[in-house]
């Protein structure tokens, strides 16, 4: 077994590392889609935040300033998406695709403007591994789970928090209702527009955490198109997890595991391209399996108009 998967501890650690950005972005996507706004733009939200984080850290020499930059960038891009979809009633899928292209083109443009050339940015201060005393001493599991960067621990916390927010608070009830029957929310005196802005904004903030982890957790620099489809894998995790925080996190872990195996398994055993297809294939299988039944929020993708 070991020659295929490597040491179990290392495999677990690398699964967590690969899964973290996916979990964060998938949780973000969940807020948006539960409010009824499709978010195909997760990829772009992650990318622009990964870039903004590096810019912030490079300007200040401080990783937390970078994090602040990233959160603002993710929020601004998410709000552009919300402005288009909710206020201007643009098509949500088109807007999401445009957000992706805007992030890709924008980061390419700004790389030249800010760092003088495309490709890879200078190295910056990132989020170092921060072993948690005692917990990280547990054999095998300890170093894998509790000797990670701060953003990973944040991810551990955000999964239950998201679940709680969605299913145990008035905000969550309203958000879920908005994604199902916006008319009902409106007649109950709650603003559909506001709920959708909240949902999309949350997606920007959470996806930006995922983006920052890529450029300042896994690496300490930005490279062009470094998300490389991770936003779409997060979207896949969201669907695979049936729009549920626990499910989405589980799916993201599974996909992270597949990536970890890709890196560790000998190349000639399973071609890495096939392992990389796995999240996408599984998502299609799930969609085909559940497709007939409505598993997506019912009002997803439709602008809400009063008159």
């Amino acid at each position: 077994m070991d020659e295929i998967f490597g040491a179990p501890g290392e495999l677990l650690a690398s699964t967590i590392r690969f899964a973290t950005p996916l979990v964060l972005a998938a949780l973000g996507g969940m807020f948006s889609e539960r409010s009824g706004v499709v978010n195909i733009g997760l990829e772009g939200l992650m990318l622009i935040s990964a870039f903004a984080g590096v810019v912030g850290a490079s300007l200040s020499g401080n990783a937390f300033v970078g994090l602040g930059f990233a959160l603002v960038a993710g929020l601004v891009f998410a709000l552009i998406h919300a402005l288009m979809c909710v206020t201007f009633e643009a098509d949500q899928i088109i807007s999401g695709t445009a957000i992706n292209l805007l992030a890709l083109g924008g980061t390419g443009f700004l790389m030249v403007v800010i760092f003088g050339s495309g490709g890879t940015s200078p190295r910056v201060e990132g989020f170092e591994e921060l072993p948690i005393p005692l917990l990280s001493d547990i054999p095998v599991v300890g170093p894998a789970l509790f000797s990670q960067s701060l953003l990973v621990y944040l991810m551990y916390l955000l999964v239950p928090i998201t679940f709680f927010a969605l299913f145990r608070t008035p905000f969550g009830l309203r958000l879920r209702a908005t994604g199902e029957v916006p008319e009902a929310v409106d007649t109950a005196g709650v603003s559909v527009t506001r709920m959708r802005y909240y949902g999309v904004a949350m997606s920007g903030l959470l996806a930006s955490l995922g983006g920052v982890y890529l450029s300042m957790g896994l690496l300490s620099a930005f490279t062009e198109n470094m998300t490389n489809g991770r936003g779409f894998i997060a979207l896949a995790a969201l669907i695979f997890g049936r729009w549920n925080p626990i499910g989405a996190a589980g799916a993201a872990l599974l996909f992270g595991f597949a990536q970890a195996v890709t890196i560790q398994a000998p190349q000639d055993l399973i071609p890495q391209e096939f392992l990389q297809m796995l999240p996408y294939v599984l998502t299609i299988v799930v969609l085909a399996g559940f497709g007939g039944r409505a598993i997506a929020p019912a009002a997803i993708g439709k602008p809400y108009r009063k008159e």
Partner: protein, 521 residues
């Protein structure tokens, strides 16, 4: 506004009760259409005010203004004598106004309690207090006899139960004025009775209710006063106890009786369309049609009467070949066509006017000539070797549109740009110009103007005179009675009886309520 004429109200006390709501001079236009034109109404405490009018008369628009869903062009609303600016439903709720929409605004995957508290959730700290929500719901439902389990998902409730949830939603928000928009349209007679007794309890408790409907019969028993709206204007307000159905009908439609077309004699021949023990499932999987057998003969119109949702749609679809029959047999001119699709049946001379012209009968964004060829685009002269010839379609369409008086008779006009009546005429032009042997007409005059109704009725009778077999499915009893040679009544997917066109209201009413009676025909 014509004030209610003198006369003792059903509950005399309400005549002296204070006015809780007044709408004064409300006007609302949509483009060129005046949906409400200087409408004024008053509502007193503890009364049920009926708001009566035909479909499209402007009742729903008025209530949407009251509930803050539309803003009026002019006019004002007074609640408890004080002018109320109602910009959105929140303002309406704050003023104690609750509304039960015709199309429920419930969230199927959420529970009854979650639906009820949405927007006014009981909290425990920052969290949602679901236990409290369940308890509050239970208390309310016990108090008013609106039985429903707070923990059930709304998706699992019957239509009648869902309506109770809607009423509870309003009561939970302390509504003192309750608006019900066409509440009985979706209910069985028994459920309607239950609803009305709940309403009586609510007014006894001091609430005031506006009941919107186009069914005049049911208002007389339950309302105190009735305001009649026609073409966006208030025609009159009458006391329910001092009026009768005839008067209400006259006020509502502005003519003494529903038009009766002259029905000549016709030569009845052998059966052309027949169904045997047909079982058809609905989209949700239930047996919508459960063992129907019928026969339509040449030269006759067979009417199908019944309350909406008793299998009419599925029956028509199965006969036309749009929906598969699970069991049983359909035959056209003696040939078994059960296994054939819509196309093959149409080629064998079956015409089908579907009940929903907007989404089933026409492609709204196609031109009229494309719509006219919607079923024959693959036959000569419109098509050869896989190609189609738009010019040929256009030429034929010009003739058909003229023959059926479609206005404007412009083959390049978008179907969606036409009025309802003209859309329906365009469908008839397509369906009847191919000289079919059998015609299935489902709700052929729903929501069309009087002129078009007459035109459509005459065309159907013309087909009858030519020896065609016609199946007429309609919710309008008057229409079924005036056109049909025989009438069958559909209830819960079964034919519960057959009567002649001279059957009384009572006879038909009993059948429509599902009480099987001795066959009289």
């Amino acid at each position: 506004m014509a004030e209610g004429r003198t006369g003792e109200g059903k509950t005399g006390a309400t005549r002296e009760a204070p006015v809780v709501l007044e709408m004064r001079g409300c006007t609302k236009t949509f483009g060129p259409v005046r949906a409400n034109d200087d409408v004024s109404i008053t509502l007193r405490r503890g009364e049920i005010l009926g708001l009566l009018g035909e479909n499209g008369a402007g009742k729903s628009t008025l209530m949407k203004i009251l509930y803050g869903l539309y803003s009026p062009d002019s006019g004002s609303v007074f609640v408890d004598g004080e002018e109320a600016k109602i910009h959105d439903p929140k303002d309406a709720v704050a003023r104690g106004i609750g509304m039960v929409h015709q199309h429920f605004t419930l969230i199927p995957p959420l529970t009854v309690a979650e639906n009820i508290v949405l927007g006014a959730e009981p909290r425990k700290g920052a969290t949602l207090n679901l236990a409290r929500a369940v308890k509050d719901t239970e208390e309310l439902s016990d108090h008013y006899g609106l039985r429903v389990d707070p923990r059930t998902r709304v998706a699992d409730l019957s239509v009648g139960e869902q309506q109770r949830v809607e009423i509870l939603k309003a009561l939970y928000r302390d509504a003192r004025i309750l608006i019900l928009d066409e509440p009985t349209a979706v209910l069985t007679p028994q459920e309607t009775e239950d609803l009305f007794s709940v309403l009586q309890e609510l007014v006894a408790d001091g609430l005031s209710i506006i009941l919107i409907t186009h069914k005049l019969g049911e208002l007389i028993g339950v309302a105190d006063r009735i305001t009649i709206i026609r073409d966006g204007k208030v025609v009159e307000t009458v006391d329910a106890s001092g009026t009768n159905e005839g008067e209400l009908a006259r006020l509502m439609v502005g003519r003494d009786v529903l038009l009766r077309v002259e029905k000549g004699a016709s030569q009845v021949g052998g059966p052309r369309l027949a169904a045997e023990n047909l079982i058809v499932r609905s989209g949700t999987g239930s047996k919508a049609v459960n063992g129907v057998s019928l026969e339509v003969r040449a030269g006759e119109i067979l009417g199908v009467a019944g309350v909406d949702g008793n299998g009419q749609t599925e029956l028509a679809e199965a006969l036309a070949g749009v929906r598969p029959a699970e069991e049983g047999k359909v035959s056209l001119d003696g040939e078994d066509v059960t296994k054939l699709g819509a196309n093959a049946r149409q080629e064998r001379g079956l015409a089908y006017v579907p009940e929903d012209r907007g989404t089933k009968g026409l492609v709204q964004d196609f031109t009229l000539y494309e719509n006219n060829a919607l079923k024959t685009y693959d036959e000569p002269p419109y098509s050869k070797w896989g190609w189609i010839f738009p010019r040929a379609m256009r030429r034929r369409a010009v003739e058909a549109l003229r023959a059926y008086d479609v206005r404007p008779p412009d083959p390049d006009a978008r179907a969606g740009s036409l009025s309802g009546g003209n859309q329906q005429k365009a469908i008839l032009a397509r369906e009847l110009s191919g000289d079919p042997g059998v015609v299935i007409a489902a709700q052929p005059t729903r929501g069309v103007d009087v002129g078009a109704i007459e035109f459509i009725h005459r065309r159907l009778l013309e087909q009858r005179a030519q020896g065609k077999a016609i199946l007429l499915i309609s919710l309008e009893l008057e229409e079924v009675r005036s056109l049909s040679d025989r009438i069958v009544v559909l209830y819960a997917g079964r034919i519960v009886g057959e009567v002649g066109p001279d059957a009384t209201d009572e006879e038909l009413g009993l059948l429509m309520a599902g009480r099987e009676v001795e066959q009289t025909a």
